[in-house]
């Protein structure tokens, strides 16, 4: 005995005779078209009716509990995502800057892996450097307010890198990596943190002049403000490198590369001259390659 349901379904083959159906249709047509309209017929159907139906279906669908929960989740996370995207290029003073900082804090709060946290922090430090660059580029006059903003940002960079350093130390401790090498990494990152817009006084600013892709013209800019901006860009590049190195699975190799970068940077600091930057850049590039 085959499945009784499918057998029942086969009874669909029972249909009225086609002759009877068409004759009856004609009869029905005559009768209904002879009846008076109870109300004038609205002929405004077609797309509008379809659209109206679709929209009401949509409202019904959205009223389902699962859909409501889904929409709430989408709006929560969607708002976070769109907010983060929209606020990406903002700097202090912009309306969406707060959103950017909140988004960063949320990202940190939702990350539990120390390595990822360190990566994020280095990335955020890079963001701050980018912001310093923007603030300096837009406010060419060296007023108090700009200085204050930049100082704040620099402090932020320091605290982010400091936290990243702590995280890295924790990782290296756990992974039994040579403490010495880790210290070097930490020092490298730490140096990146001490970048300041009043950089002429700060030796470590020169570190970030280790320009990897810039042309000579860029380095030889005489004006102080412009040089500072440039330096920030360079420190940003270094931070990116630190982040990329962290991502690498070969931790030991990454650390040794960073150590060499560190040494190259130290050389530049010792020379203290802008001219020496070019050599450092070349050295750094070779090491990294």
């Amino acid at each position: 005995m085959k499945n009784i349901n499918s057998q029942l379904n086969s009874l669909k083959n029972i249909k009225p005779g086609s002759d009877y159906k068409s004759k009856n249709r004609e009869l029905l047509l005559t009768q209904i078209y002879n009846t008076a309209d109870a109300k004038p017929v609205d002929f405004s159907f077609g797309f509008t009716a379809y659209f109206r139906q679709i929209s009401s279906e949509l409202v019904n669908l959205m009223a389902q509990p699962a859909m409501v929960v889904g929409l709430v989740l989408i709006s929560l996370f969607g708002a976070g995502l769109f907010g983060a995207t929209a606020s990406k290029g903002t700097k202090p003073g912009d309306s969406l800057y707060v959103a950017k900082r909140i988004s960063e804090k949320t990202q940190l709060a939702l990350t539990f892996d120390e390595k990822e946290k360190a990566e994020l922090r280095i990335g955020f430090a890079g963001n701050r450097v980018e912001e310093i660059e923007k603030v300096l580029a837009e406010n060419t006059e060296n007023n108090e307010e700009t200085k204050k903003t930049v100082d704040n940002l620099v402090n932020n960079v320091k605290s982010e890198v400091g936290a990243a350093k702590t995280g890295l130390q924790k990782i290296s401790k756990n992974a039994n990596i040579d403490t010495k090498v880790t210290e070097k990494v930490a020092t490298t990152v730490n140096k990146a943190s001490s970048t300041s817009p009043s950089g002429a006084k700060n030796e470590e600013d020169e570190v970030f002049s280790a320009n990897l892709g810039k042309d000579k013209a860029g380095i030889s800019v005489a004006e102080k403000e412009m040089t500072e901006v440039k330096k920030e860009v360079d420190s940003k590049a270094l931070l990116t490198q630190a982040k990329e190195s962290l991502k690498s699975d070969d931790v030991a190799n990454t650390l040794s590369v960073l150590e060499k970068v560190d040494e190259a940077i130290d050389k530049t600091v010792d020379s203290g001259e802008v001219k020496g930057v070019e050599e450092t850049a070349a050295a750094t590039t070779t090491v990294i390659k």
Binding site: I4, P16, R25, L29, A49
Partner: protein, 183 residues
Amino acid sequence: MNSGIKEKILFRKLEKKDKDAFVKAYDYYFDDIYRFVYFKVGKKDTAEDLTSTIFLKTWDFILNNSITDYKTLRALFYKIARNAIIDYYRKKSTQLEELIETFDYLDIKDESQDLEDKIDAKMEYEQVIDKIGELKDEYREILILRFVNELSVSEIADILEKETGNVRVTIHRALNALKDLVK
């Protein structure tokens, strides 16, 4: 276009007494209603007469009433069909004497089937047809609605004015009753 949406558009149009929409509804539901009636009355001629009456009655109902209380257009047609069948038996004052006639509906289209299979299949289907006529009206009706005309349980509950749980139980019992008869 999705058939559910198509049906709802027809329903909205019929709320405004649209004649063309009713003709479309005729094409859409005629076979199903005819089949439903056929299994209720068991006679081809009676089923044809009743189906024509049902469609005229439905048009009359749409013209003179608001149909917004009905969930679906299909439910409206089935409800009117059920009432028309009840009226028919009331007038005749008889019970269903002659059950399902000999059907010649079975046309096995699968060319790959060999003769033996075809005969087996035909025997099995004929057995189901015969036995479904032996079921009590309530069971036969619910099996046709659910498994032949493929209405949802909630639609059936709406047409029969019963709870969905009740409908499920009846479907289950009806299937078991049919299986027992077919054994």
